[in-house]
Symmetry: C2
Subunit: 281 residues, 2 copies
């Protein structure tokens, strides 16, 4: 496994693979990898001849008051996880390599980015779309792998791929969870033991929503209220949003029809956590 820092090196490596007729899978990450990322790399390794992992904490997707400065880093561990999961190349550029002097081009999206996480993180999806477009153009993969925990990110990137005619396949992968159900996230490390315990409320609330759906409830306001009430029962939790939306358009639905996305975000202390599930029938 090679680690490279320049776009030029990635291009040369991928070009060589292409002339050998090999397929390329791609897993974009911000590093501090956990079992969720590991599962993406393993899947990419199973479905492609070669796997590229990018590690880049993208300044463009963090708001001014957000946590980029304290975003966790452990490159040595990342390298081990990548190697053992089957990655062939790590692309680890610095900001200057990605955003040179006078950088001023962006990918923007109407609609899909103004709801859910986009509401509390203005500019976030402009940053995500722009960096993902750049990475896709650098790596030119056949398939790119994203975790379902970031459901809105997947919807937004799939829309970008379709609208701007990118010639690759987006592969959504199931959320990997801790034993108690908390979705794996690089940000979980910030929770103190008390907060860690409280954070489980997010998954619990979504499990309850799933049960209501199984029991035949179809009014989204009823289920959203139940999620809100459950989360408000936990003193350390502060709800950001609980919403049920169409899986493709991310528009709120009144009456739930499959496929729908049931998504919520909470603050536990200063840490913002998100989770969701897809209602499929």
């Amino acid at each position: 496994m090679k680690i490279v820092k320049t776009i030029q090196e990635v291009r040369e490596q991928v070009r060589t693979w292409r002339t050998e007729g090999l397929t390329v899978g791609f897993v974009p990450t911000m590093g501090y990898l956990h079992e969720g990322h590991q599962s993406l790399i393993l899947r990419a390794d199973g479905e492609n001849d070669r796997v590229v992992v990018s590690i880049f904490i993208n300044p463009l997707q963090f708001g001014e008051k957000e946590d980029i400065e304290s975003y966790p880093v452990d490159l040595e561990r990342d390298r081990e996880i990548c190697a053992s999961a089957g990655a062939d190349l790590i692309f680890h550029p610095d900001s200057q390599e990605m955003y040179g002097r006078d950088f001023c081009s962006f990918v923007d999206m109407d609609g899909l980015t103004e709801t859910l996480c986009g509401k509390s993180r203005p500019g976030h999806f402009r940053g995500v779309c722009t960096v993902v477009m750049k990475l896709f153009n650098i790596v030119k993969p056949d398939r790119a792998y994203f975790g379902q925990k970031d459901a809105q990110q997947i919807a937004v990137i799939q829309r970008m791929v379709r609208d701007l005619n990118l010639d690759l396949q987006i592969v959504p992968c199931e959320t990997v969870r801790e034993a108690d159900g908390l979705a794996k996230s690089s940000r979980n490390v910030r929770l103190n033991p008390e907060e860690r315990k409280a954070s489980n409320i997010l998954h619990e609330a979504l499990l309850l929503a799933e049960k209501s759906l199984d029991a035949g409830v179809r009014a989204s306001d009823e289920i959203e209220r139940a999620i809100r009430d459950t989360i408000q029962g936990e003193k350390l939790a502060r709800l950001d949003y609980a919403e049920i939306v169409d899986l493709q358009t991310l528009k709120p639905v009144e009456v739930i029809r499959a496929p729908a996305l049931v998504a919520a975000a909470v603050y536990i202390g200063n840490t913002r956590l998100i989770d969701n599930f897809i209602y499929r029938n």
Copy 2:
């Protein structure tokens, strides 16, 4: 030479060429081709194994009050020009093929798009960047050819290619002119005989500016004023802008240093015409 209407057909043809190891040149147009386009196709033919020409009047780059409805069309003549100049494939999609239901992704640019033509055509360069990004992703050319008449368009597209890491080369090509110096444009056909005669004032004013530069004048306001005065001397002409800017950043310069772009736009009746030259030493 083939003519196709779907993205799928373009992809399949280009993929076949690629497996044969052939290079691909690309000339994006809005149709109603003239000798300017012809020269782009001829150059693309000389520098690549295969040439794709797209013909698509892109609604996204026209303002609400602009001239998309009356934009001239002559597909039969376009086909002849393409064939004789060496094109191998014409991509002629309809709007639905390019902008499907729920289309909502765009390429935006700060700075470069707010000056010159961007000022009088808000949204124009969003439309240009978005359609060019789409076409580049569909055709995946090695080289794309653009006429220097649209100097700002070239600067904007080169910036997009650099910022978003598109893996192709932009080839700017010299403006082709009528016998009296008027830059070739699909819009020239709209000029009545009197307007056609008056339209020459644009090229004349720029020639005078070039002479001043040759004579050692370096104050941009002095040259801009001379262009304005010349154009105002023509009763049928109404100046949109006359500006001297840095060739890369398109920022206005006070003291002219090479390379600088000297650009002007005028209305002759209802027809808007643009022209420019690059000061190189």
